[in-house]
């Protein structure tokens, strides 16, 4: 499950988009989803976001494996956080269930479902971004957005080594299991459970520090950081498709903000 979200080489419409366009796409979906409190519009947003999966030729088996636990988690998280606070969506509210001091209002339930739908609307755009963006091009895009290139490199390294470290985690865990460590049901309460994490954490951290020294040496040998500015092997260029996609997204963002300001000012309650 850990290595599911990684760059997958391909030649889809989304793969061919400029990385800055894809970054803007995720940002636009975030703004659109977070600006709305209306399940009808959020549902439309989710459908449009989910359309990105087939457009990016994403392996649906990989997505499906994560979508179900994600749905359960989002539902639990949204309801546990919001449903027990009757006035969360403002006043007036209508109590539908009361047991002692626990009060659940219809508005709080709708609000919880709306928040869950918000997460769902952003999820496909974010996963498509990760799965279609090569880490090297990510750092070029960040540098072109005037972010200091050393920081852009941090992001590049993090994205590049995420799948490698996830694989290392599985290998170390299985190796420790083979040596007889109880990884799944450790004894000794909370402290015992935390200590059970150390046989995986310590080798992985030390191995990573070792690896960091090797990578840093290799980068120093290639004069990394000697000059204030640097050039890049890959170049990014905006195409006609990028302009079209950005325009559509911009129209979507402006529409959602205007809807929130003038039409859908409050939570939509379907009664």
């Amino acid at each position: 499950m850990l290595v599911s979200f990684k760059y997958i080489h391909g030649d889809s419409l989304i793969h061919r988009l400029d990385v800055r366009t894809k970054l803007f796409m995720v940002f636009a979906y975030l703004v659109m989803a977070l600006s709305l409190l209306d399940m009808r519009v959020l549902a439309i947003l989710f459908v449009s976001s989910a359309m990105l999966w087939p457009l990016a030729k994403t392996p649906m088996k990989e997505v499906g494996k994560l979508l179900i636990p994600m749905l359960i988690f989002i539902a639990f998280f949204s309801f546990a956080t919001n449903a027990f606070y009757p006035g969360i969506a403002g006043k007036p509210y209508h109590i539908v269930y009361q047991w002692g001091w626990i009060k659940i209002s219809l508005e709080a339930l709708i609000y919880s479902a709306t928040v869950a739908l918000r997460y769902l609307a952003i999820f496909p755009a974010a996963t498509v971004f990760i799965m279609t963006t090569h880490p090297t091009k990510m750092s070029v895009a960040l540098a072109k957005l005037k972010i200091p290139y050393k920081l852009a490199y941090v992001m590049n390294i993090a994205l590049r080594y995420l799948p490698t470290l996830a694989l290392d985690y599985e290998i170390i865990k299985n190796a420790q299991r083979a040596r007889g460590f109880e990884m799944d049901r450790p004894q000794g309460g909370l402290v015992g459970r935390l200590k059970a994490a150390l046989p995986v954490m310590i080798p992985m951290v030390m191995d990573s520090i070792n690896r960091a020294e090797l990578i840093a040496d290799a980068m120093d040998l290639r004069c990394f950081g000697v000059y204030k500015d640097r050039t890049w092997y890959h170049d990014l260029k905006f195409t006609k498709t990028d302009y079209i996609v950005c325009t559509i997204l911009l129209i979507g963002v402006i529409t959602c903000i205007l809807l929130r300001l003038f039409v859908l000012k409050r939570l939509w309650v379907p009664v």
Binding site: L2, L30, T81, N82, M155, I157, A158, L165, L194, I202
Partner: protein, 174 residues
């Protein structure tokens, strides 16, 4: 960190990147285990360790980018929590300014553990109060998000940070 002021070394850049990736990997393991309105995050020990062993700047960036990466992988974006996790790494690394990552005495380990606890509370409450300022009800932002997050992170930091530092000292001597 050079004599003539702050300068990010190549090793710092690589450690920030690997620290962020490692935090994201460990956070993903416990992502689906809820604690109040948050996920359980023993991964926070990675951030506190990187801060304590390599400096507050490494801790801050590893924490902030690691959390951003974790959010991003699951289709979320909570910038205030990204900064909050960065603050945890930053505060955990304050003792590094004094001992430059040499953990030899008991006081060094005690300070690393104490600072990771303080960092957990400051970082999580920073994020919680930003949430309140952005319109999230106080009860939800503080009682359901910030406090459980800070308390669990503090426990993880308190137990796991000295253990990781001890292992790192032994690793350095090899």
């Amino acid at each position: 960190m050079g004599k003539n002021g702050f300068r990010l070394s190549t090793l710092d850049v690589v450690l920030m990147g690997l620290g962020a990736a490692m935090y994201a990997v460990f956070a993903a393991v416990t992502y689906f285990i809820p604690i109040a309105g948050m996920s359980l995050r023993p991964a926070i020990a990675i951030v506190t360790f990187f801060g304590a062993a390599f400096g507050p700047h490494v801790g801050f960036v590893a924490g902030a980018i690691g959390n951003l990466l974790c959010d991003f992988t699951w289709g979320e974006f909570w910038w205030e929590w990204d900064v909050g996790v960065g603050i945890i790494g930053l505060i955990s690394g304050l003792w590094w300014l004094k001992n430059k990552g040499n953990y030899e005495k008991g006081i060094d380990y005690a300070m690393a553990a104490i600072l990771s606890v303080i960092g957990s509370f400051v970082g999580c409450f920073f994020a919680g109060f930003v949430d309140v300022a952005m319109g999230v009800p106080f009860e939800v932002a503080i009682y359901a998000w910030a406090f459980p997050g800070a308390a669990s992170d503090a426990i993880f930091g308190l137990i796991l940070t000295p253990a990781l530092l001890k292992a790192y000292q032994a690793f350095k001597l090899r």
